[in-house]
């Protein structure tokens, strides 16, 4: 590995760290907004025992400023932060011209996407 490449990877690592930090903060902010919405309005926006868990219904609920929908959006953003880490790692391995690990990391991403589909269908 040349020194330039090492520096570039270090830079990518720093960017990843920043992205994750910002991601966690944004997710936390959205969750707090959802909780405050619940505390102020006293309404979940849904009948008792019901909460939105499909992308369409969550987005619809967020537009109507329903507290449960906003909380679910924040939680989803939180789940996305490690996924983002995987995506950026794929980019880092491509930059390194590391074909083996570009593939391995892509497989991890595919498994994560399959997890979403399984959850959605189950």
């Amino acid at each position: 590995m040349t020194p330039e490449m090492k520096k570039e990877i270090d830079d990518i690592e720093k960017i990843i760290g920043k992205i994750m930090q910002i991601g966690v903060l944004i997710a936390a902010f959205v969750i707090v907004v959802g909780i405050l919405d619940l505390l102020i309005t006293g309404s979940t926006g849904y009948p008792i025992g019901v909460h939105p868990h499909a992308p369409g219904t969550i987005l619809q609920g967020v537009m109507q400023f329903k507290s449960y929908a906003i909380m679910m959006l924040g939680i989803f953003l939180l789940i996305l932060t490690p996924v983002l880490r995987v995506v950026v790692s794929i980019y880092a391995f491509i930059k390194e011209r590391d074909r083996l690990y570009t593939w391995i990391t892509t497989i991890v991403l595919i498994i994560l996407i399959i997890a979403m589909v399984i959850g959605y269908l189950g």
Binding site: E13, K14, I16, G17, M20, Q21, G23, V24, A28, I31, V32, G34, I35, L38, L39, G42, T44, H51, H53, A54, Y68, M71, M72, G74, I75, F76, L78, I79, L80, T81, P82, V83, R85, V86, S89, A92, L100, Y101, I104, T105, I107, V108, I111, L112, I114, A115, M116, I118, G119, Y120, G122
Partner: protein, 281 residues
């Protein structure tokens, strides 16, 4: 509804602080508290605590990135095993009875108690000379890290890649099934089975925890097991609690705290084990 949200923020806060002080993930404390003290279904507790795991892991990874201890190749390669295990675990949780989950969680807490006692007594890190594994060469898993104490770059080789991979599948399964980060199992796989030094093992395990948890969390998220009224306030509480915990860690006598709380964790483990058999104490 409002008091409930405040209670969960409080539980998260406490779990975050305690988790940081005891060196445990927040997930392992959240589930016993929610089920034993608040009497909520264990399935809800598991789904909520996996979110707590992501919250703590994402925070910890940022700190470790700077240390250059992380072995990204080991992490990504082993994540194939942990994520598949985690998805499977999350699906199984929806199929088995609460009693099975109580029993398994109880056993896990007892194991964690044993682990903490072992750490408290303290073992000396022996000089290692692992047998070279051709698979590790092929996958370029061997690495190096900068040791602050000696001021030297330490190179290391990993061994028994298939064994570590299998153990990681188990770690992922436990993570998805019980809503924990299963950091202890991951360190066990890298440190004990693959003979990777403890520092890079711990750093790598922290990164893997978040990705593994994301795999089962998406299953719980989309299948509706994840309850926003529990998970949302809990996540916020844990994020704040873990930050406070790591700050006050230097100021408190951690060793004494651990001595006090180890029996508490052990007792909760026993309670959950018995609940698995249908006995309440």
């Amino acid at each position: 509804m409002i008091t409930q949200a405040l209670i969960f923020i409080g539980v998260g806060l406490m779990a975050g602080i305690l988790g940081a002080l005891l060196g445990l993930g927040g997930g392992i404390i959240v589930t016993p508290v929610i089920t034993l003290l608040l009497g909520l279904p264990i399935q809800y507790a598991i789904a909520a605590s996996i979110i707590a795991v992501i919250a703590t892991s994402s925070g910890a990874t940022i700190a470790y990135l700077k240390d250059e201890m992380l072995n990204l190749r080991v992490a990504m390669f082993l994540e194939i095993a942990t994520t598949v295990g985690a998805v499977l675990g999350a699906v199984v949780t929806g199929l088995v009875s609460s009693q099975v989950l109580y029993f398994l969680f109880g056993a896990l807490l007892i194991f964690s108690t044993y682990n903490m006692v072992r750490k408290l007594i303290g073992k000396i890190d022996a000089q290692r000379d692992p047998v070279p594994d051709p698979a590790a060469e092929k996958l370029r898993l061997n690495g190096a890290y900068y040791d602050k104490a000696s001021g030297k770059e330490i190179e290391y080789k990993v061994t028994n890649v298939p064994g570590g991979f299998a153990m990681m599948f188990g770690a992922g399964l436990a993570s998805g099934l019980l809503g924990i980060g299963s950091g202890a199992f991951k360190v066990l796989a890298m440190d004990t089975i693959m003979q990777m030094p403890l520092k890079p093992s711990t750093a790598t395990s922290n990164l893997m925890m978040g990705v593994t948890a994301a795999a089962s969390a998406t299953v719980y998220f989309f299948n509706g097991a994840l309850q926003p009224q529990i998970a949302a306030p809990l996540a916020i509480g844990i994020l704040i609690g873990a930050t406070i915990g790591t700050r006050i860690m230097q100021l408190l006598p951690t060793k004494i705290l651990r001595m006090i709380f180890i029996p508490v964790i052990g007792y909760m483990g026993l309670q959950m084990l018995l609940k698995g058999f249908g006995v309440t104490i």
